[in-house]
């Protein structure tokens, strides 16, 4: 969709990110999709491919409060959410906010920590608030979590339960840069990292406004029907044990709205749905174990499903 005119603000943000990130434009786009749609991203990748750099660039571009949590097995929920400490001078408990109280949070290696701590994070993501010592603290808005998960280490990890994975709007892989890109990476590594020089494109207020605009992107009934058709098909698919839920349909629609918005459209196309479906749906379906043994991945399943659903090309007549 290269020929499409990007939304100017988004264009600037992406340009900002590209200053520090080489290639990986689609990852940047998808992260923006999640940010604009008010969702969260699960990045499944090995360390060292530039996740942190990208999130930081994104946070800088929207002038957001960036926090990073490195999950370890001994991390406690209070380390994430914050803790109340007794202040002897004031004779009362004072709340010290944890790293979750930022706008953009990088939750690194989320599968390394105990389920208790994981669920503290997941609760925050779902409810946009945390409860500590009986007091509910609203999280800041916008609130965007980019969690990473190392897919190759299993020793000493606590994989996220599949049912909890659908807290994330999108799941994606970053992947390695290609040869030219990697050379360019080396070139840049010789200089001072430009991340400190990045100028914000919009402030948080502006970002909230964009989020509002995204909600108003028009989704025609034909598109809704298309979304439902796709999600429905995952439920009856042969190698699928559990298909995507209606929450998956909602997620697909919201993501599509944001994606359309990024490309300067105020309405959603079937192309948006086709593009986003693997990212939105693949972590929401559970494959049968036979299928796993055969090496079928959920991305493949989603792609096959999408290929089988006819694209709506006529108006629904009412």
């Amino acid at each position: 969709m290269a020929h499409e005119q990007l939304n100017p603000t988004i264009d600037k943000i992406l340009a900002n990110i590209e200053k520090v990130m080489i290639g990986k434009r689609n990852v940047a786009e998808l992260s923006l999709v999640a940010l604009l749609a008010g969702g969260h991203v699960l990045l499944e990748d090995v360390p060292g491919v530039g996740k942190t750099m990208m999130v930081r660039a994104l946070a800088k571009s929207v002038n957001a409060n960036f926090r990073r949590i490195q999950f370890t097995p001994d991390l406690l929920p209070s380390d994430v959410t914050g803790v109340s400490i007794y202040n002897p001078k004031e004779m009362e408990f004072q709340f010290r906010p944890g790293p979750l109280m930022g706008n953009i949070i990088l939750a690194d290696e989320i599968n390394r920590t105990s389920p208790k701590t994981q669920s503290a994070l997941l609760e925050g993501m779902e409810e946009a608030s945390v409860t500590i010592d009986g007091v509910t603290h609203k999280l800041q808005k916008p609130f965007f979590v980019m969690a990473t998960q190392n897919p190759i280490e299993y020793e000493g990890t606590y994989p996220l339960p599949e049912a909890q994975l659908d807290r994330f709007l999108l799941k994606m892989k970053m992947g390695y840069p290609d040869i030219h890109e990697e050379i360019e990476v080396l070139n840049r590594a010789q200089k001072v990292p430009p991340i400190e020089d990045l100028q914000p494109v919009i402030d948080l207020e502006g970002l909230r406004a964009l989020q509002q605009e995204v909600k108003e992107v028009f989704v025609d009934d034909t598109i809704k029907r298309y979304i439902v058709d796709i999600v429905n098909r995952t439920r009856g698919y042969g190698s699928v044990y559990l298909g995507a839920s209606p929450r998956g349909s909602i997620a697909l629609m919201k993501a599509a709205q944001a994606y359309a918005f990024i490309f300067g459209r105020d309405y959603v196309l079937p192309d948006d749905i086709q593009y986003l479906a693997p990212y939105v749906l693949s972590h929401r379906i559970i494959l049968k174990s036979e299928a796993k043994f055969e090496g079928i991945t959920s991305e493949e399943v989603v792609n096959r499903v999408v290929n089988r659903v006819p694209v709506p090309v006529q108006r629904l007549v009412k």
């Binding site: 192309d271 086709q274 006819p310 694209v311 629904l316 007549v317």
Partner: protein, 729 residues
């Protein structure tokens, strides 16, 4: 249940079907005020449609029913006190009668009430069938059975009713099927789907109805059972006379032929000086299948007036006689009278002095006397052969041209061999009278046979007279009389066809009056014969039927002219009035005859030209198939022309889809899972343009955004046309 238009249509059709049950009731029973019941039906259906609370529905209906009963059966207004009391008393009495099974004692009020209740139940049932069960076939089928049975066994003519019923029935069944499918599939009834269903439905119903009406139908293998069984094997068979089943007299001479069986039911008895033929009516238009009256002009006359029929001219010698007629049947819709009738001189029981007796001056048929004995005064002519032989040709001076034309009418398609035969038969004669006698004799002398049973019905294009004269040569009075009348007409001698009765059987001498004789006339005596018009002499009866003779008194002896020859004044020929005073059954029959005529021509055309038609049909099919094969070459031009003048931006919707199918035919198929954008890029790569992508953007806006910039079709049309052109190349 919704209050939408389809439901309204369903109710309308339900109402129409139910109405068909009511229509015959009015005609066949002595139920009056049928319109009130129809109004009740409308109200009941409307209330049901509007889904009023049951309380209001019941209230409105009950008030309507009570009001109607009050209006029919009680004097004094609705608010007149006491009638409700007596009505409820009546209802209770009637309920007891029902319990006691005294069906005949039910009062009219109660019957009306029952009828209303029946209507009420029927409306509910139809509502139930239509909207709950969504099946109405049984009711529709019963309606058809009901109408056809009534048509067969009663006077009810269901020709139109059956068309109405079939149309309404099929329409409603089609709609119900649609709703059932809709419900089963749980699909949204969007308007396109409805259109897809309803348009073919309407076309199919209309087509089948039109074909049903218009298609030529085989003549019935069996004759209409009721006239056949009941009527009268009148010895010559004007089939209307004997049967009480037809309204009026001789409703159906338009198609003659077919066998008859005897019926010796007495029609009337006569007390007279001698045996006479008894006329009932005359007809003047020969159709090729039978006889019709050219029109109907009914006038009234009083008992004291001369009966306004064309009487015997004064220059013919006559003697006066009287005869008393005593009808036997209950239904007398016609009056039999002797030729030369002057006056009715007595009625038993007496009719009022000023009682208007009706006569149709066109057919000379007298009506509405009712079941009374009547005495007629009539003249018996004594013709002089010399006077009769004077006329040798048509002379406008003595005969009104219109009159002449009317009584020498023959159908255009009358086979010419009839005229040839007539000319042969009458070759040796010079004047009209002798020619008529020659034709009359011709039937007696040759191989013609009188038979009531083995008589053919003329087929689709047969002429009734022609068939008898040349093919079958077997028949009864209708065959003989019609043939003679038509033969004479074919050589320009004015004739008319007369229906009535022969003189009947002698019973005994009258006990009151020694000179009088009593005759019994039965249905077997029904007969038809011919009258020939001879200027200055009037209508002279002839009897061509084998084995019958008419006692007409002609003096052949005198070589001289008769006593009254002074100045042979032109006969007082009345100019036949043809003002269409009334819309009559006869006129209607003319119309139906015309349609049949056209159909006969069409059938003939098909029969003669079928090879060409088959060839033409095959050629047309081949051309259509070829055109369909190469539709990719010409169809787009047509489409382009069509869309060139469209202004609406929404045009892109249909146009784009046409482009898609055109590209498909061209070989650039879009995969089902391919998005339009993706496909557009593929097309653009193929044609190395950017037009498809630009067009597709517009179309995406149209379908996925439901929003098009004003005037966008004008811009996009060019893109679209270019692409269409590319697919033609």
């Amino acid at each position: 249940m919704k209050r939408d238009f389809p439901t309204f249509l369903l109710y309308t059709f339900g109402f129409l079907l139910l109405w068909e049950w009511l229509r015959p009731v009015e005609q066949l029973t002595d139920t009056d005020h049928i319109e009130t019941f129809i109004v009740f039906l409308i109200i009941a259906f409307a209330l049901s449609y509007l889904q009023m609370k049951w309380f209001w529905q019941w209230l409105i209906k009950i008030v309507f029913v009570l009001f109607s009963i009050n209006r029919f059966h009680y004097k004094g207004g609705f608010f007149h006190s006491g009638w409700l009391g007596s009505f409820s008393e009546d209802v209770i009495n009637n309920l007891w009668s029902i319990v006691a099974r005294n069906w005949n004692e039910l009062s009219n009020e109660f019957r009306t009430l029952l009828f209303f209740i029946l209507m009420w139940i029927m409306v509910y049932l139809i509502h139930y069938w239509l909207l709950r069960q969504q099946r109405i076939f049984i009711f529709f089928f019963m309606t058809i059975i009901y109408i056809t049975v009534l048509d067969t066994f009663t006077v009810y003519d269901a020709k139109i009713a059956i068309v109405r019923t079939v149309a309404a029935g099929f329409a409603v069944m089609g709609m119900l099927t649609f709703f059932r499918i809709n419900r089963r599939e749980n699909s949204n009834s969007n308007s396109a789907f409805i259109k897809k269903w309803m348009v073919p439905l309407v076309i199919m119903v209309a087509f089948s109805v039109i074909v049903g009406i218009a298609a030529p139908k085989a003549a019935p293998i069996w004759p209409d059972p009721v006239p056949y069984l009941k009527a009268a094997g009148n010895k010559g068979g004007s089939d209307g006379i004997g049967g009480i089943s037809r309204i009026g007299y001789g409703a159906n001479d338009s198609r003659l032929g077919g066998p008859f069986i005897g019926d010796d039911t007495t029609v009337f008895t006569v007390e007279s000086n001698g045996k006479n033929y008894w006329k009932v009516e005359t007809k003047d238009v020969y159709t090729g299948k039978g006889w019709l009256a050219s029109g109907s002009t009914t006038i009234d006359f009083r008992q004291s007036d001369l009966v306004p029929v064309l009487s015997i001219p004064s220059n013919v010698e006559t003697t006066n006689e009287t005869a008393k007629v005593n009808p036997a049947g209950e239904f007398v819709s016609y009056v039999a009278y002797p030729a030369g009738i002057q006056k009715f001189i007595d009625f038993q029981p007496n009719l009022p002095e000023q009682y208007p007796i009706q006569i149709d001056t066109n057919t000379e048929k007298i009506r509405n006397i009712g079941n009374v004995d009547y005495t007629v005064d009539f003249k018996v002519p004594k013709y002089q052969a010399v006077d009769l032989r004077k006329t040798t040709g048509y002379d406008p001076a003595v005969m009104n041209a219109e009159f002449y034309k009317r009584y020498t009418q023959i159908p255009e398609e009358l086979p010419p061999r009839i005229k040839q035969l007539t000319e042969e038969v009458t070759a040796s004669e010079t004047n009209w009278f002798d020619k008529a006698r020659a034709v009359e004799r011709y039937f007696g002398n040759t191989e013609y046979t009188y038979d009531q049973k083995n008589v053919a019905i003329p087929g689709g294009k047969d002429d009734y007279v022609d068939q008898f004269l040349f093919d079958t040569k077997t028949g009864y009075c209708d065959n003989f009389s019609s043939s003679m009348a038509v033969m004479l007409r074919s050589i320009g001698i004015p004739t008319r066809w007369v229906k009535g009765f022969t003189g009947g059987e002698f019973l005994e001498y009258s006990r009151d009056d020694e000179t009088k004789e009593l005759y019994t006339i039965t249905n077997n005596n029904a007969h038809s014969w011919v009258e020939v018009f001879i200027p200055t002499q009037g209508w002279i009866p002839f009897e061509p039927t084998k084995g019958f003779s008419n006692s007409i008194n002609i003096d052949f002896t005198s070589g001289q002219t008769s006593t009254n020859t002074q100045t042979p004044a032109p006969a007082p020929v009345k100019k036949p009035e043809k003002k269409p005073l009334e819309e009559t059954a006869n006129v209607k029959k003319d119309n139906s005859f015309d349609i049949r005529d056209i159909w006969r021509n069409i059938q003939l055309f098909f029969k003669n030209e079928w090879k060409w038609i088959v060839f033409g049909g095959m050629l047309a099919a081949a051309v259509i198939a070829l055109l369909y094969r190469i539709r990719g070459k010409w169809f787009p031009y047509l489409v382009m022309l069509r869309y060139r003048f469209r202004k609406k931006d929404e045009t892109i919707g249909a146009a784009y889809l046409i482009l898609l199918s055109q590209l498909d035919r061209y070989g650039l198929k879009r995969k089902e899972n391919q998005t339009l954008r993706n496909y557009a890029r593929y097309i653009d790569t193929f044609f190395s343009t950017r037009e498809m992508t630009r067009l597709t953007h517009r179309y995406e806006q149209y379908i996925y955004n439901q929003n098009l910039p004003e005037g966008s079709w004008k811009e996009t049309r060019e893109l679209w046309e270019n692409l269409i052109k590319k697919t033609i190349a």
